[in-house]
Symmetry: C2
Subunit: 431 residues, 2 copies
């Protein structure tokens, strides 16, 4: 009995943790060699954590499970009819298939914006953003033209959802409390951090009082928020807004859209507008009870009419649900029984803004500021995969908090954007 | 009074630490944004440490020195006559100039080997080697052809000096004690680590008894050493030896040669065979008393006829020597006085081989094994720049030592070598 799991994110790994059967062999395929603790990815981009602190090798996490084979490989196609997965190198037959490939940054039909405004989904994205921001300040220190300096010291974040808010807050703190002492010709605390959001308030998925609080906390950190406006175009070093205004910037980050992995579109099943698979209530593909989809690839309505949100707790709950179903069927000698529908348990929503600044919405409780921030900190540390990382991250945070320093301020590379760097190179080995 | 320091390695930073004068302003230029603790670079390549643990931003180290401006910039030329340094962006005039640009990997007239066999001088080099080795094991797990598997699981290190010995030992340990439990289709403990050295023994700069001990310790770790043989050619995935033998490999590392920064060659002064500047006894350039060179750029004989070795203690001692000279001249109202010659104080030589394995030669004492390793550990921790890094590195080492795990096993990118990776991509964002 072959069970193939595509993707080693929160959904795929949770499935593995809950699924074990004497008759089954598992194969986990991921396009990277590591599981990523995505909720803290923005900290890597903002120089607070190093890449290895929020990532662990998939095969190291699953090392003790002798029934699991991990392949660092790329999925190029899925043949639902013949129950086969085609990989860049080789192929796999399956009896059960779990699709947990997650999402990717979406530019709403403008893929050409990607080169000017990176998104934040992978470690490489985070390292690219980090290098780009640090490089912009370094170039400003070298620049002589005041206008060019102002441009280099402007950071634009497009999208006021959780990622955009976290990034804008973290960049503001980086400039005002960390970099501010280290330059001689420029004053990093004068850097402009601009957040562009189409709704009247940031974090529009939260109750209005929390959105308003987040907006106030961000403003207090020095972030300039443009509400009620969309981006018209993004070009090299500039963002054009719908009202014609043009903002020149050293760094532009795209935090406005996420879509499901493009593989979802090749299955021949119904998708929602974000390219997510409209699964059956048990999370299987309609017409393919042996294939399940979980996590950010999935479009599913809750009984209250709201969609299950694309957050890691949902992905983990789905992984567990599918594990229970498959285990029950393997243990049922008379063939498949009725499958229970997936039920999402909302544990609450949080967003962090900066040092002692956050908002949280947990059940009946809505709170913001230091208490929300401490809650956020506690919850994220608890869930960080792996003991070592937990301690290391705690150590980094305590250090940043008390010393107003950031440890991961190393420019190592800037893939694909070398031309932007002008005469300076961001690669340590180029000069 | 303008003092310009080119390079923020051990030499340049030590100069800054010892030079401070009310009449002087310093400008430090480096082509990277970080100071690198180079003695531990091999640990980054071998997945033991993460990049940020051995690197710190130069401007953060020098943050409190308001008399110092740090520029992340590239030196493109030096005009000794007009006392000017040309940078990629702008230029600097100097009254005193300190050249501390260090060295780079040399391929002895075969620059085309670089693409197939990276050297280890920069953080980017180390991350490239790390990604390449991890990727080779991942590809071996995906491969079906046994010969291809054997090739992928072969690592060749060219050069049995300190760097080559450290790398070969660390790779052997990585394969045999860390990776060995994590794969299902291949057995990483069967990986071949091959070290190629032209001399009869590795570490030929040490007394024969220590070289022999290092050779024994390496062999005990499972490293295959080819002595008395040179490399004839390096091509994609293969090394040809002088006797015609060809070794096919998944990863080839070049640890056989170092030369001074090529800027040394453009000064019009006498160089040695490694391109190093033949400085006057006070470390100044002959004919240019206002220009000094220190560290790995320098060729200087000791009174015993031996050259001052290209090691960090020598660079630091030179930095301090030049600081003392310039300070004395600024404090002497009647112009330059007689300058003392530089004297190298040899604190000893050590090389680490692996877990509890090392050799050390300190004054009259020669020892190897656990004691040498503990000494090596102690000395390197003491000298690691910055309190935070020291604690973090200690933590990593304790973790690796007791848990037989390595924390930094994340493949993030493989600059310039994507074609080698075949159908698999080493960039996290490519697939």
């Amino acid at each position: 009995m072959q069970v193939v799991v595509l993707g080693a994110g929160f959904g795929g790994l949770t499935f593995c943790q809950h699924f074990r059967h004497p008759d089954a062999r598992l194969t986990v395929v991921d396009r990277t060699n590591h599981h990523l603790f995505q909720p803290l990815l923005y900290q890597v981009a903002a120089c607070g954590l190093s890449a290895t602190e929020i990532a662990q090798p998939v095969r190291s996490i699953l090392s003790k499970r002798r029934d699991i084979t991990v392949l660092f490989n790329r999925v190029v196609g899925i043949d639902l009819q013949h129950k086969q997965v085609r990989l860049a190198q080789g192929e796999l037959s399956y009896d059960y298939l779990v699709l947990a490939l997650g999402g990717q940054t979406s530019y709403f039909g403008h893929p050409e914006w990607e080169q000017f405004a990176p998104g934040l989904k992978t470690l490489a994205d985070a390292l690219r953003i980090r290098s780009q921001i640090l490089l912009a300040f370094e170039q400003a220190e070298n620049a002589t033209d005041p206008q060019e300096r102002d441009r280099l010291m402007t950071i634009v974040v497009v999208g006021g959802g959780p990622t955009g808010v976290e990034l804008a807050g973290a960049f503001a703190e980086l400039a005002r409390t960390v970099l501010n002492r280290d330059f001689r010709r420029i004053d990093p605390s004068k850097a402009r951090i601009i957040l562009i959001e189409g709704s009247p308030l940031v974090l529009s998925h939260l109750p209005a009082e929390l959105s308003a609080s987040a907006q106030r906390q961000l403003t207090a950190l020095g972030v300039q928020i443009h509400n009620n406006i969309h981006v018209q175009a993004i070009r090299a070093h500039e963002v054009e807004l719908a009202d014609g205004r043009v903002i020149r910037a050293g760094t532009i980050i795209w935090a406005a859209g996420v879509a499901a992995s493009p593989l979802a579109g090749e299955l021949g099943v119904e998708l929602d507008r974000g390219g997510r698979i409209k699964v059956a209530p048990d999370l299987s593909l309609p017409g393919h009870p042996e294939v399940f989809a979980i996590g950010d690839m999935v479009s599913l309505l809750q009984p209250n009419g709201q969609p299950v949100p694309g957050v890691s707790p949902a992905a983990m709950q789905m992984g567990r649900h599918v594990a229970v179903i498959i285990k029950a069927e393997l243990n049922s000698p008379r063939g498949p029984t009725a499958r229970p529908p997936f039920q999402y348990w909302d544990k609450g929503t949080m967003a962090t803004i900066g040092r002692s600044a956050a908002v949280a919405w947990i059940g009946r409780f809505r709170f913001s500021g230091l208490l929300a921030w401490l809650t956020w900190l506690f919850v994220h540390l608890i869930f960080l995969v792996g003991f070592r990382n937990r301690l290391a991250v705690l150590f980094q945070w305590a250090y940043s908090y008390f010393a107003y320093k950031r440890s991961a301020r190393i420019i190592t590379y800037l893939p694909g954007a070398a031309a932007d760097a002008g005469s300076l190179s961001a690669r340590t080995d180029d000069a």
